[in-house]
């Protein structure tokens, strides 16, 4: 009986002393933090994807609160609406941004791009890219080991094992750019999502001369510049035997899609029309 009472008293005193110490320390070393940081953070997705260029959502929230202007600060994952709310909290106006989406600029599926070798080493694109051109003869195309799939914090990428290419799940992709950083071949680009998801892009990254590119892959961009001549909006440029469509200038007229001799230009999410290679496009987009 005595022991029980003694222990209760001793432990109780230790507890009270401890609580007092903790209280004093908490008061003494209190760091004042702007309460708005918590408010802003609550609006953010909390995936810490790094798409904003900061080390995480809280870091981004702190940056927003401390900033004099919201220019250059944007959470790609939450989009304009949330940035507007953040602007209201911190008393600044956020610039309107267009939602972005990751686009895979390679269409060399297994049957269109012959595989010359089989890789048995560590199954990552980074290792394969350091060795050479990979399994196919294209030195710029997708390596197919899925580093982008692994890097995506939103589960918006999946590997299609039939084509050997990754696919972007449109509803889930927020355009954070984690896959862009993970791809050693730099074939993933963030482009404007476009009205109702409609967008036109060159699904190839091969920078070799036409004949060489065609030998490696049947759907390679050969840099023939037919698309550039066809484009009435000055949106297409050819550099290093490769066509590039500027998504800011593109008016989605799809004239380039029809003239491309190798069907390397893809148009996705357009209402069904007699667009060539349309079905394939939807699979791989």
């Amino acid at each position: 009986m005595n022991i029980i009472v003694t222990s209760i008293i001793v432990l109780g005193i230790i507890g009270i002393v401890g609580a007092a110490v903790l209280y004093i320390v908490a008061k003494r070393f209190h760091v004042h933090e702007d309460p708005r940081i918590d408010q802003v953070e609550a609006l953010l997705p909390g995936a810490n994807c790094g798409g904003c260029g900061r080390s995480g959502c809280r870091d981004f929230a702190a940056a927003c609160v401390c900033a004099d202007t919201l220019d250059g600060l944007a959470c790609p994952a939450s989009g304009s609406a949330v940035m507007k709310q953040i602007g209201e909290i911190v008393g600044l106006t956020a610039a309107e941004t267009k939602p972005k989406i990751a686009v895979i600029k390679c269409n060399g599926t297994c049957d269109l791009r012959p595989r010359l070798a089989r890789f048995e080493g560590a199954p990552t694109c980074a290792v394969l890219a350091s060795l050479g051109s990979g399994e196919s003869a294209c030195p710029n195309g997708c390596l197919g080991c899925g580093d982008c799939v692994e890097a995506c914090p939103y589960g918006a990428m999946k590997m299609n094992f039939e084509t050997g290419l990754p696919e972007v799940i449109e509803d889930k992709c927020v355009g954070c750019g984690a896959c862009v950083k993970a791809c050693p071949r730099s074939i993933i680009e963030l482009r404007n999502k476009g009205p109702r998801g409609m967008r036109v892009y060159v699904a190839c990254s091969n920078k070799e001369k036409g004949a060489v590119a065609m030998k490696a892959c049947k759907v390679a961009c050969i840099g023939c510049s037919k698309c550039a001549k066809e484009c009435t909006h000055d949106a297409i440029t050819i550099a290093n035997n490769l066509s590039y469509i500027d998504y800011e200038k593109c008016k989605l007229c799809r004239k380039c899609v029809d003239v491309c001799p190798t069907h390397a230009i893809h148009a996705v999410n357009f209402p069904v029309k007699k667009a060539p290679a349309k079905e394939k496009v939807e699979e791989t987009a």
Partner: protein, 447 residues
């Protein structure tokens, strides 16, 4: 007799040196050569010829693109057809010079080949050369480390200020399985090699030289011991048969017992290591005034092995007859690189072509069973299982702390791993990342 070796780690893979004892066959000059400008470590060479130019055998067609670089010479006379993209064995594009010969060119080359062993410099002229002059000849002859790493030879012979060479070590260990090109070169040309070593010693300004040969090449040891007896300060050292005996750091430790400091250059120990084929090339450059235009390689297809002397720029497919191999490895089975095609020119670093189906596949990787064998065999004293995992998980900081940059990529860990894990693959990736970060940090510090 005491056999020298490095202290920790090492493996002993099956040797399979079936080409040993097969005399070196001289492959006739091809009618067309493709000479890539990047045949060495360092800056690519810059072409100095243009389409339509006539060139003669031994002409320089590309100049060194920097200090750590080497010129390229054409082994055939002919016309420059084009300067265009060629493929590396791994399928990556690289700039190359295409040269084609006609009847007259071939006749001239045949004559030049017949007289190629005639010395162009007299004994007195050679004796009058000082170290600097020899290094210049080596530099202008485009000689690079012919063991496979292709580091320009003149760079190693000109130590940075503050360090001093004391010994030249000739790497004749040839510890890679299957390869026997160095072995045969030593058996057939011991006197020339010793002359080359002597020139290297003079170029480096040292009076001690060691030719390190593994114990499994008794004929070569005998031949070189006899040939080197006349040169003061030069000795032949017999090494234990153990992989990677021919690794630069391992060889230095085995021969002089000093360790290359972590992150430091081998010259910090006072040693300059050159391959035995490089020494032979130095002999040819100085005595015969012939730039590096060919090399000896071992062609091994599982059943037969041959040693061939092949002109640089020869398309590899012309050396191999017929059937599509299951896998092509350029170099030895331990450190060689897999090639996806034989439609690629041979370069200065091609020491072997392996078409052995025994090496064609890896066993599928399984989970690490924590046996620690990789730690036991690592000649650098690293923990391969740990650094490869850190590298796989992109934990570059931790990998740097675990000294991933010290890895010599010898592949002993991958070879011994009972779970067949691709340890070196990941380590190589992490090493590249960490070393790039270290260089960037050093550059930022300087700025």
């Amino acid at each position: 007799m005491k056999l020298h070796t490095f202290k920790i780690g090492g493996v002993h893979p099956a040797e399979n040196k079936i080409a040993a004892g097969k005399p070196i066959e001289n492959i006739p000059l091809p009618e067309e050569v493709v000479l890539p400008v990047a045949q060495h470590i360092g800056a690519p060479a810059t072409p100095i010829v243009k389409k339509g130019d006539k060139v003669k055998r031994g002409d320089r067609v590309a100049d060194a693109g920097g200090f750590v670089s080497a010129p390229v010479h054409t082994p055939i006379s002919g016309t420059v057809m084009k300067i265009d993209v060629a493929r590396t064995p791994q399928g990556m594009p690289v700039q190359a010079i295409y040269i084609k010969s006609d009847e007259a060119d071939r006749a001239a080359d045949a004559e030049a080949m017949a007289n190629r062993e005639t010395p162009r410099r007299t004994e007195a002229e050679i004796a009058a050369l000082d170290g600097k002059a020899i290094i210049d000849i080596i530099k202008n002859a485009g000689i690079v480390g012919l063991g496979g790493a292709t580091f320009p030879a003149h760079v190693k012979l000109s130590p940075p200020p503050g360090s001093k060479a004391e010994i030249v070590i000739i790497n004749a260990a040839e510890c890679e399985p299957c390869l026997s090109c160095d072995d045969m070169l030593m058996r057939e040309n011991p006197r020339q090699i010793v002359k080359g070593v002597e020139l290297l010693m003079r170029a480096a300004g040292v009076n001690r030289g060691v030719i390190a040969i593994e114990n499994n090449k008794p004929e070569a040891i005998a031949a070189l011991t006899e040939a080197s007896s006349s040169v003061p300060g030069l000795e032949v050292m017999t090494m234990q048969v153990k992989y990677p005996q021919g690794g630069e750091k391992q060889l230095i430790e085995a021969v002089i017992g000093k360790e290359v400091p972590s992150g430091g250059l081998p010259i910090a120990t006072g040693a300059i290591v050159q391959n035995v084929a490089t020494a032979y090339a130095v002999y040819r450059a100085v005595v015969l005034d012939e730039p590096l235009m060919d090399r000896v390689l071992t062609l091994h297809d599982g059943e037969t092995g041959r040693n061939l002397r092949v002109a640089l720029g020869t398309i590899l497919a012309t050396l191999v007859d017929g059937k599509e191999p299951e896998k092509i490895i350029l170099g030895g089975p331990m450190m060689g690189r897999t090639a996806s095609t034989l439609q690629t020119p041979m370069i200065k670093g091609t020491s072997g072509i392996l078409l052995d189906s025994r090496y064609a596949h890896r066993r599928p990787a399984e989970n690490c069973i924590r046996c620690g064998k990789c730690v036991e065999v690592c000649p650098m004293g690293l923990e391969p299982f740990l650094i490869s995992t850190l590298s796989r998980l992109h934990e570059w900081d931790d990998a740097e702390e675990q000294k991933i940059a010290n890895c010599i990529e010898c592949g002993s860990c991958s070879y011994i791993c009972p779970a067949s894990r691709p340890l070196v693959d990941y380590i190589r990736l992490g090493k590249a990342k960490v070393m790039a970060a270290m260089r960037a940090r050093a550059a930022a510090k300087k700025a």
